[in-house]
């Protein structure tokens, strides 16, 4: 009893204290993010969490995606010219861009071609002094094949730079808008090299972006403030904090309690219950993604396309969309989402029919079923809010046609590692497009090259399909590319190395005081131009 009294007293005291701080809180936007970034250098990572915390807040690129679309617009480059053979890109750079002034660095000059040169050479040249400062490696740059694609980078003048490619490649410009192409300060690197402190270049970042880093406590928070000399003008929002909260229910609880203003990756159940709370507002946007069950075609019985068809027939996508996505997704039949221009509407999906599935199985010689394993990840992704739950539903569907399913759950990193090495039997995977080009789905996920790097998790290498997507990549006209991709989707359906399951709608839950916030179809969270309305939703505590 005494115990309770003390709690109540302390709570009351602090509750009074709580009211006072509203004015401090008015100037801070808190984003409950899903994890700690690996680093503050987007060149070193492939994770969206890292990009949210680095490239999207701290840095700019030569060109960037227009917010809310996959169109390219000028950023640090004012304009560019492409040579007739498609191999030479010349960029004119802005002259009025200032880097962040931090405790470690005071810039003496504005952004120029040296910074561009530094940012790319660091990733590209293995003997660059900064190439080996981090143990993480330049995975995105390498997996995009940029090393082989770029032939030379040449500084023409202080604000003019030329990229020369080894071949014509239409998605190159879109690649430069991607996170790994963020521009770092060459002057900062030089200073650090003089002070023998090169190792802090990736943990104490200096960029040109709308926000600059104030403080980072791993697994706790990242604190940013508006870049006072931002080239597009200082942000209205003065303080931005990423509250690192890996547990989705905790994120939701914090949003409901008013501790967060924006919540990353809400669960479907949160979206349905958000309306009860006045501090929560759901915003949605069709996502550029797919969730699928990938069958490892190098392992029996998935080397038999009849078995793969049978499994396609056996899985009830509708019930998955109801239970896992709580109706916030659409059924998938192709490997790319319907909001992409190359989508083939005419393809007919396998209907849900356990009888047909059983028939196909006995045709394939598995009348008595077989044992299989589904690998899943414990982490929640934008395309799949609960892979474990999805696996359990599939387990039940397949039990009906006599297939016995074991589920193995791994942490995200361990899961990817296993899948890349092809150790899985089947796996629940997904993909979010990062540049809006169909090639961004087909090449990594289904090409023969993808079987080498492991991003093609079915290890399905079909010469005809591979030829089609290769042709589509070197074309520049959208119409002929569309035809090639639609043809490829038919080949894909015939072979069915996957069970395409769903295209998730992207959701975020925000506090109504957050204004001008939009979801980007390519994923990720951008706080540029977002601001807080100082009407007090919080005061009713």
């Amino acid at each position: 009893m005494r115990f309770l009294n003390i709690i109540v007293v302390i709570s009351l005291i602090s509750a009074c204290q709580y009211q006072k701080k509203a004015n401090v809180r008015d100037d801070v936007l808190v984003y409950c993010s899903e994890g700690s970034p690996q680093t503050f250098n987007p060149q070193l990572s492939t994770s969206g969490t890292t990009f949210d915390a680095s490239s999207r807040t701290l840095y700019n690129r030569l060109v960037e995606f227009k917010p809310g679309s996959t169109l390219i617009e000028p950023a640090l480059a004012t304009h560019w010219t492409i040579s007739a053979d498609g191999k030479e890109y010349i960029f004119d750079l802005r002259t009025d861009v200032k880097f962040h002034t931090t405790a470690n660095f005071k810039p003496t000059r504005p952004f120029n071609a040296d910074d561009v040169l530094f940012s790319f050479e660091r990733q590209w040249q293995k003997d660059h002094p900064f190439h080996n400062t981090s143990k993480l490696g330049y995975r995105y740059f390498e997996s995009m094949g940029m090393g082989g694609l770029i032939e030379s980078i040449e500084k023409i003048s202080s604000h003019k730079i030329k990229f020369r490619l080894s071949r014509a490649e239409s998605p190159f410009l879109a690649s430069l808008a991607m996170d790994f192409a963020s521009i770092l300060s060459a002057e900062y690197a030089q200073q650090l090299a003089q002070q023998n402190k090169v190792e802090i270049i990736d943990s104490k970042p200096v960029g040109t972006g709308p926000f600059q880093l104030v403080r980072y406590q791993p697994d706790a928070y990242i604190r940013y403030k508006a870049h006072p000399d931002y080239w597009q003008g200082k942000q209205r929002l003065n303080n931005l904090v990423f509250a690192i909260t890996p547990d989705p229910s905790l994120r939701f609880a914090r949003l409901v309690a008013g501790e967060c203003d924006v919540m990353a990756n809400p669960l479907p159940v949160h979206i349905t219950s958000a309306e009860q709370f006045q501090s929560a507002r759901v915003i949605s946007e069709a996502g550029l993604n797919i969730a699928y069950l990938s069958m490892n075609t190098t392992k029996p019985p998935f080397n038999n396309h009849l078995v793969r068809h049978a499994i396609n027939h056996a899985i009830n996508k509708n019930s998955i969309i109801n239970a896992v996505y709580q109706k916030t997704a659409t059924e998938a039949k192709n490997p790319i989402p319907p909001n992409m221009w190359a989508y083939n509407k005419s393809i007919k999906d396998f209907e849900f029919s356990p009888e047909k599935a059983r028939k196909l199985l006995s045709e394939a010689g598995y009348a008595n079923g077989f044992n299989m394993t589904i690998s899943t990840m414990s982490a929640q992704r934008a395309y799949n809010p609960n892979a474990k739950k999805m696996a359990e539903l599939i387990q039940q569907n397949l039990r009906d046609i006599g297939i016995n399913v074991d589920i193995e759950t791994y942490e995200y990193g361990a899961f990817l590692y296993k899948v890349r090495k092809g150790e899985h039997h089947s796996a629940l995977l997904g993909w979010t497009g990062d540049n809006g080009d169909p090639d961004n789905f087909f090449t990594p996920l289904l090409s023969c090259a993808g079987t080498m790097t492991g991003t093609n998790s079915s290890f399905w290498c079909d010469p005809q399909f591979n030829q089609l997507i290769h042709q589509a990549r070197s074309q520049t006209r959208v119409k002929s590319r569309t035809q090639l991709y639609q043809q490829a989707q038919r080949v894909f359906k015939q072979a069915s190395p996957w069970v395409p399951i769903a295209h998730a709608t992207q959701h975020l839950i925000i506090n109504p005081r957050v204004k001008n916030f939009a979801i980007i179809p390519t994923g990720g969270v951008y706080f540029k131009d977002v601001y807080l309305e100082n009407s007090e939703v919080l005061n009713d505590e």
Binding site: P248, F252, V269, T272, S319, A323, K389, L393, I407
Partner: protein
């Protein structure tokens, strides 16, 4: 000497087991805890018959509230979880699973621990000291951390979690057995038996073992509740039983996501764990008092 008339009452001395039982049943709290525990054990044993549904059977009625809520139905007394599985069936099967696992864990830990403990107590000073140092060290390691590390190495999953928890529990048994035996060995009746020429094994089985039984019984109940708690904790952290096993900790961690909109999916499994642990601890406490140990 018997010339005194026996019209006075004589004091009867009951057997020690009968005395423990009487002491135990005198303690009303412990007795009711024993009843509750028996009920839980019965539910656990008969869960396949009691549970109205298959614990992994999914239905379209997900997150149905319990029957005493306004929109609950009597078809699912405790409601359903996020996959539409009947919560009561899952908890009942979970009782079976938890108790079975805990029994298994305690059986491993106790047999290894008692064996090692006896060996240590009866061996020479050097071996004894070394064992004690090692056991003290293992005890100093935070138990869950140790279990987590073991699970991390051999991989998550139910069997591995069980081994981890069993390993963590062994030192307690070693120490209790050892100190109880050491205590007994120094007593004079044992010296007397040795002087009488009893063999080591006979001495151990006939006279020492029965006397170290009380502390061991208490340690068993303690270990049992620890085992249930640690298995549930590992399940909660996603390192123990994996879905769709109806293990209590796993159920809790799955329902954690629904804490805001379906609080019963959190409160009910928690209550199940809590009452099981409480009844075991009460019974253990009652036993300790009845056998006059500890305090």
């Amino acid at each position: 000497m018997n010339n005194i008339p026996q019209f006075y009452q004589q004091r009867r001395i009951p057997s020690s087991a009968a005395r423990w039982w009487k002491n135990f049943t005198d303690n009303k709290l412990a007795t009711s805890a024993l009843l509750l525990l028996s009920l839980i054990i019965l539910i656990a044993i008969f869960s396949p018959f009691i549970a109205p549904y298959d614990p992994t059977l999914q239905s379209a009625d997900y997150l149905l509230p319990p029957s005493w809520y306004e929109d609950g139905t009597s078809a699912h007394i405790f409601g359903t979880d996020a996959l539409g599985r009947d919560l009561f069936s899952r908890l009942a099967h979970g009782a079976g699973l938890s108790l079975k696992l805990a029994t298994f864990v305690v059986a491993i830990a106790a047999s290894v621990g008692i064996f090692l403990g006896s060996l240590t107590a009866l061996s020479n000073q050097f071996v004894d000291q070394i064992t004690i140092r090692i056991m003290d060290l293992v005890l100093a390691l935070p138990s869950l951390l140790l279990a987590v590390v073991i699970v991390a190495i051999i991989g998550p999953g139910l069997p591995n979690a069980i081994y981890a928890v069993a390993i963590v529990l062994i030192p307690h048994f070693v120490l209790v057995t050892r100190s109880a035996i050491k205590n007994e060995v120094n007593k004079e009746y044992v010296t007397a038996m040795i002087l009488d020429g009893s063999g080591k094994i006979r001495l151990f089985c006939k006279s020492i073992f029965p006397n170290i039984l009380p502390p061991l019984i208490v340690q068993l109940t303690l270990a049992f509740s620890t085992a249930i708690l640690e298995i549930a904790a590992l399940g909660f952290l996603g390192l123990g039983a994996q879905a769709p096993h109806p293990e209590w900790g796993t159920i809790l961690s799955e329902s954690h996501n629904n804490i805001v909109n379906a609080p019963w999916t959190v409160t009910l499994p928690g209550l199940a764990i809590f009452f099981t642990l409480l009844s075991i601890n009460l019974v253990g406490d009652g036993l300790r008092d009845a056998m006059d140990l500890g305090n």
